[in-house]
């Protein structure tokens, strides 16, 4: 429509650049970045074949992604590596350190290009009569570059300008995703660690909604709050407990297990640390009654049968029978043996 003065791009071309830049920053993972970039840049610089090359030694990533499937890729890659030293664009970037958009036709005549082994073994088969490349980054350990191939020498100066305009944004988007990936990895590690210690975590947002929850934490709550939907909202009893003394855990027994909910100290947000204590199976397969658990508790505390009888308000003979059954169920020889197991069994 309009080209203001000697502007290298029309207003519409500038809008294309802005649309491409917007798409670049929409990518949400490092893994998706190569395909995402090729799709975002394709409308800007149409080509018969485009490629995203990435070497990230720290992350152990060596990626060569094309916008379409290419036959006998392994052979092409092998030939490319064998002859890459004569690639005019690779040589240019290596010698000058300049990563701006550059094309083979800037550096070599058609005839000179056709003489190269890399043309004869790689590019001729791909129909690449000209190539324009953009080096996003080239420092120790990380190289990121884009390459566009065409059947004719018809890359325009405005296409070169467009690629150079998106270059800093490609670099920024990559750096942002790298940072995000680092945090995501650490978060996954911490989740694994927490699960290993037998805990789940639920964090509440400012409106009592669930900001994030570790898998299993909500399921654990669901076992103790039948009818509630802990994935959607934290049970009201726990929200109520959050307003009380922070050092006393919230507990609830159901079946053979006991839910223990704690609040970590020094948390900026309201955090709920969930764990479950299950009465472990006894070797004899038997289960202890609640009364036997009471007796075991006092026995482990070093109380005599007479003392336990007084504490629990039972006859001395009843306590004695409880202790005998305990010893039999636990498969131990004496009351000291029973006390040794108490720590594993008592909630």
């Amino acid at each position: 429509m309009s080209t203001a003065g000697d502007s290298p791009l029309s207003h519409e071309e500038h809008l294309d650049v802005l649309a491409c830049v917007e798409r670049l920053y929409q990518c949400r993972s490092l893994a998706a970045f190569p395909d995402h970039v090729l799709a975002a840049v394709a409308p800007l610089v149409p080509s018969t074949l485009s490629a995203f090359n990435e070497v990230n030694l720290a992350r152990n990533r060596v990626v060569w992604v094309m916008d379409r499937a290419v036959e006998s890729m392994a052979v092409i890659q092998e030939n490319w590596e064998r002859h890459s030293a004569e690639h005019p664009l690779v040589r240019y970037v290596t010698e000058t350190g300049d990563g701006q958009a550059i094309k083979i036709s800037d550096l070599l005549s058609e005839a000179a290009y056709h003489q190269l082994a890399i043309y004869q073994t790689v590019y001729r088969g791909l129909g690449a009569e000209d190539q324009m490349s953009l080096t996003i980054r080239s420092d120790e350990g990380i190289i990121i570059a884009l390459a566009f191939n065409r059947r004719q020498r018809d890359f325009t100066e405005s296409e070169r300008v467009k690629l150079n305009l998106i270059r800093p944004h490609l670099l920024q988007a990559y750096a942002n995703l790298e940072e995000l990936a680092g945090h995501a990895d650490e978060t996954a590690d911490l989740r694994t660690a927490l699960r290993e210690t037998g805990h789940g975590l639920i964090a509440l947002d400012a409106t009592d909604g669930i900001a994030h929850a570790s898998p299993g934490a909500c399921e654990c709550l669901a076992r103790y709050f039948p009818g509630a939907e802990p994935r959607a909202a934290v049970p009201a009893d726990i929200l109520e407990w959050l307003t009380t003394d922070p050092t006393t855990p919230f507990t609830r027994a159901a079946g053979d297990g006991r839910l223990v909910v704690r609040r970590p100290r020094g948390a900026e947000r309201r955090l709920i640390l969930v764990s479950e204590e299950t009465r472990r199976c006894l070797p004899t397969g038997a289960r202890l009654t609640d009364r036997e658990m009471d007796v075991l508790h006092w026995l482990a505390a070093g109380k005599s049968n007479a003392e336990i009888a007084t504490i629990l308000g039972l006859a001395h003979g009843t306590v004695k029978r409880h202790v005998e059954k305990l010893i039999a169920k636990l498969g131990v020889q004496n009351r000291t043996g029973a006390a040794a197991r108490a720590r594993d069994l008592l909630p």
Partner: protein, 351 residues
């Protein structure tokens, strides 16, 4: 019909977008966005208004500092129903750039209570605003004020061009902050369980650790490089028998190391069990500690005698001495006390 921008103006827009995406956290976003937009739309006062209910953020950030911001907010809210730009967005839902001078004459603007009680003092003779987002829980808007009616159509075009990018940058900053918050929450939770964590990278070097974990490791392996590989003993254990916890006894405490079964990267969890001093325990002889350990395992005196190769009478004397030194009434209490105080941290294997 809006005028097309020059190449140089497009470069300014692109530079502004680049600056927006360099923001590294939601906390820094308001000041960052104000700074990024300043070269594009010069003004004597600009503001970024943010309401994010889930995150509990209600913020009005200005390009200048006002000590009496709270009082100002009260005045603004009292008269905000008169605000022509606010009324426009509420009525139409259109978030594109609009200015006060689009809707009313200078005289009409100056007739508003909102102007007389609020904007006059700020020299705001015209205001251009753009609403980035406006849905149930989140409202984001930018406002620029000038002492004269001088906003141009080109400036309106620029503001509309960066609008989707401000939204994208906010979403990205929110996502990054979400990860950072989660990381912090999980670290706090893990600390509460008494465990620390060290993650290894592809080359087996200690890459990331929770606060305190490297220091804990250093107490048992003083020569370990905190950014190098795991100490040899731990590396061997991890390679051969990671399912059985690794323990190492120090002078007053024991290091316990575990490795989670299902993890994407190799991880080690560290915990330290401090052997609390039991009253009288330091006066126990090595033989008495040995007897106490078997006693705590539930062994009878004759069994302990057989295990230790001494007479039953000797064991009985040892037990009596242990009870006296610990100040407890019977062997069960001695076993429980010993266990609770970590005096018998190591589990013995029956012969």
């Amino acid at each position: 019909m809006s005028p097309p921008l020059t190449h140089e103006e497009h470069l300014e827009v692109l530079a502004c977008i680049h600056e927006l995406h360099r923001c590294r956290s939601l906390a820094a976003f308001p000041e960052h966005v104000i700074r990024a937009l300043a070269p594009l739309i010069p003004s004597n006062l600009s503001a970024f208004n943010e309401v994010n209910m889930p995150r509990g953020r209600i913020l009005a950030t200005m390009s200048r500092h006002f000590p009496n911001l709270a009082d100002m907010a009260v005045v603004w809210e009292r008269h905000s129903g008169e605000h022509p730009l606010l009324r426009y967005i509420v009525e139409t839902g259109d978030g594109q750039a609009v200015k006060v001078s689009d809707f009313m004459s200078e005289a009409e603007w100056r007739g508003l209570h909102l102007y007389r009680n609020f904007y006059r003092e700020l020299d705001a003779e015209d205001q251009m605003s753009v609403t980035i987002r406006s849905d149930a829980g989140v409202v984001l808007a930018l406002a620029f004020n000038r002492p004269e009616r001088s906003f141009t159509e080109r400036e309106r075009v620029k503001l509309n061009l960066v609008r989707p990018h401000v939204l994208q940058a906010y979403a990205n900053a929110e996502e990054l902050s979400g990860h950072l918050d989660q990381k912090q929450d999980l670290e706090t939770a893990l600390r509460e369980t008494g465990w620390g964590m060290i993650a290894l990278d592809a080359a087996g070097r200690m890459a990331t650790a929770t606060p305190g974990a490297p220091e804990c490791l250093a107490r048992y392996f003083p020569d370990a490089d905190p950014e190098g590989p795991l100490p040899a003993a731990l590396a061997d254990w991890l390679a051969t028998d990671p399912r059985t916890p690794f323990t190492l006894h120090g002078t007053e405490s024991t290091l316990i190391v575990r490795s989670p079964r299902r993890s994407e990267r190799p991880l080690v969890l560290l915990s330290e069990e401090r052997r609390r001093r039991l009253a009288g325990a330091d006066r126990l002889t090595p033989r008495e500690i040995e007897v106490l350990r078997w006693l705590a395992e539930g062994k009878s005196n004759p069994e302990i005698a057989t295990i230790l190769g001494v007479s039953a009478g000797t064991v009985k004397l040892h037990v009596q001495s242990i009870l006296a030194k610990l100040g407890v009434e019977n062997r069960t209490a001695a076993a429980t006390a010993a266990r609770e105080h970590g005096l018998v941290a190591t589990s013995l294997r029956s012969p």
